[in-house]
């Protein structure tokens, strides 16, 4: 399953009572709008790490890179690419 729908489903289930507002999009701010608070951000990072097999560094936990579904999707993709290149190097 592609990355974005998984993130979208997680956000909808955990922060939007399963029923997003009509104007909710992948660009809607999550943290700066108050939909996800600091504790929610920990759960979100936990979910991303366990679901996609990636690991965040302290400096990567910032509001800007996790504030919208689009941004989260980009972060996860970048991390998966990094992982792949590490795997390839190890495989050589």
């Amino acid at each position: 399953m592609p990355i974005k729908p998984q993130i979208r489903a997680y956000i909808a289930e955990n922060f939007l009572h399963g029923s997003p507002a009509a104007d909710f999009t992948d660009a809607t701010p999550l943290i700066t709008s108050g939909i996800v608070d600091s504790l929610g951000m920990i759960s979100l990072v936990d979910f991303l790490e366990s679901n996609f097999g990636i690991e965040f560094l302290p400096r990567e936990i910032d509001v800007d890179s996790l504030d919208t579904i689009e941004h989260i999707d980009a972060v996860v993709r970048a991390k998966l690419v990094d992982l792949q290149s590490v795997d390839l190097r190890h495989g050589q």
Binding site: A21, G34, I35, D37, L39, P58, I61, V63
Partner: protein, 491 residues
């Protein structure tokens, strides 16, 4: 060298700097600021404030995370004789603006630039951060009882209220901690609370008083248990002070018990009830460290304390303990409410003399603050917290008046009635559920309502669940029946 004025927080910094100018005062990731650098920068900024026209008792609002620059600005404010009002930069703009207006701020220091921006709140013009040192000769002499800080906390009237703390009130608490816990220049202190919380008086002013290094927890990892565990180890923290929720997070999700912390000798916690099993886990993980429960609302700072006894079994709640030497504690015999007096008390609520007089009660010619906390005194002279008399709750150590959330909901044109209840579960902590009755024609969704609240409330005050109901349950006298709402929430 003469000892500094006992109660002037900025005189402490000058005195400590004279004794150990090159020692590290603030450590913020790769940036280390020595005492001489901190003093020079704070005094230069203070001179800039005075030249600009800041006079003693003016308010300077810091909308900054807990950074080196924020601490420089805090001491600069005190050197200028002004009152520092630290507020969290992640508060919604509406709330920040209301606090700036409420305390008629002269200057607002804000922004994520380094150094931050200084704005004249009357004209909106910027004041440059000083680049070269200035002579501190023009700075005013500070009298002891002057207000030093205004800390804004949730208000039951629907607006945050500003707790005014004098130099003396803060100094009283800090002097005690330095002596009781033997804090010295060899210590590295960390306190992840934002500047606007009374817990932050511990690390910042112990640094100024004792020469200990104040090690700043990067604000993006404050709620990330795994990174906090690493931070405490790597920064070789010796003294830690936080709300219990952060410690519980590290114990349950931060693999705290998997490592050793040879430098960590003191763990203080305050702000909410620490679950007894977690206290046991903490003590088991760091058996050589002194762990202690500190108690007191923002209005009094810490007034009682209880060291966790060796072999604490967690079978009963950890007491809030015995009075600190400077505190006078008594219990209203009619109600069981804890009343606190002594030198650490607030001066009052900023701009609200009536609310201030309601908060205090005069006994034997002395003022006591009515804490609203129900307590029990045991035969050893130790107090145990039993609960609240009002609708104030704690969530992750943040103090919340449920009425303030209700006010935020009721400000929405489509919400006719609103009631908020708090429930506590062992795994998730305090959960806030809002009930609202809506105007018939509305298309409002619970997410819309939550986002509407987020325009005026900080994130920790937002309801976890918002339920729309047809009619608000009411008792015989027409008051909202919160017990009935609790029952509905369980269904």
């Amino acid at each position: 060298m003469p000892a500094p004025s006992k109660d002037s927080l900025c005189a402490w910094l000058a005195h400590t700097t004279a004794a150990s100018p090159a020692a590290p005062a603030i450590m913020e990731e790769d940036r280390v600021t020595s005492f001489s650098e901190l003093l020079a920068q704070a005094q230069s900024l203070a001179v800039r404030f005075v030249e600009f026209g800041v006079v003693p008792q003016d308010r300077i609002v810091l909308v900054l995370p807990k950074t080196t620059d924020a601490i420089i600005a805090l001491f600069a404010t005190l050197f200028a004789g002004a009152i520092c009002v630290p507020i969290h930069p992640q508060w919604p703009a509406e709330r920040i603006e209301s606090v700036v207006a409420e305390c008629s701020a002269r200057l607002v220091i804000h922004g994520d630039t380094c150094p931050p921006r200084i704005t004249d709140s009357r004209t909106g013009t910027f004041l440059p951060w000083p680049e070269s040192p200035a002579s501190p000769d023009s700075l005013p002499v500070i009298d002891d009882p002057n207000p030093a800080l205004i800390l804004f906390t949730s208000g039951s009237s629907g607006q945050p209220k500003g707790v005014v703390l004098s130099h003396r009130a803060i100094a009283t608490f800090v002097h005690w901690t330095a002596s009781e816990f033997h804090i010295t220049s060899a210590d590295r202190i960390a306190c992840p609370s934002p500047l606007g919380f009374d817990l932050s008086t511990f690390d910042i002013f112990n640094m100024a008083l004792t020469g200990a290094a104040c090690v700043l927890v990067p604000s993006n990892i404050v709620w990330m248990p795994r990174f906090l565990t690493t931070f405490i180890r790597d920064a070789r923290i010796t003294c830690w002070y936080s709300v219990p929720s952060i410690l519980s997070g590290m114990l349950h999700r931060g693999r705290f018990a998997d490592y050793t912390y040879p430098d960590l000798r003191l763990i203080l916690f305050a702000g909410e009830v620490f679950s007894p099993p977690d206290v046991v886990r903490l003590q088991t993980a760091v058996p050589h460290a002194l762990c202690a429960n500190l108690y007191g609302p923002t209005e009094t700072n810490v007034v009682t304390w209880h060291p966790v006894p060796t072999g604490f079994d967690g079978a009963s709640p950890l007491p809030i303990g015995q009075p600190c030497p400077y505190a006078e504690i008594t219990v209203d015999p009619a109600t069981g409410e804890l009343l606190a007096g002594g030198d650490s008390l607030m001066s009052g609520y900023w701009g609200h003399p009536q609310e201030t007089s309601r908060a205090f009660v005069c006994l034997h010619g002395r003022q006591f603050y009515r804490t609203g906390d129900r307590v029990q005194l045991d035969s050893t002279g130790s107090y145990t917290y039993l609960g609240r008399f009002d609708r104030q709750v704690k969530r992750r150590g943040f103090r919340i008046e449920l009425a303030e959330i209700e006010t935020a909901l009721l400000n929405h044109a489509d919400i006719l009635e609103a009631a908020v209840i708090a429930t506590t579960r062992p795994q998730t902590g305090t959960c806030l559920t809002a009930f609202a009755c809506l105007r018939a024609s509305t298309t409002l969704t619970p997410t819309d309502a939550r986002m509407y609240c987020a325009r005026s409330l900080p994130a920790y005050m937002l309801p976890d669940h918002i339920l729309f109901i047809d009619a608000m349950p009411r008792g015989n006298r027409g008051k909202i029946d919160y017990a009935a709402l609790s029952a509905m929430q369980k269904d």
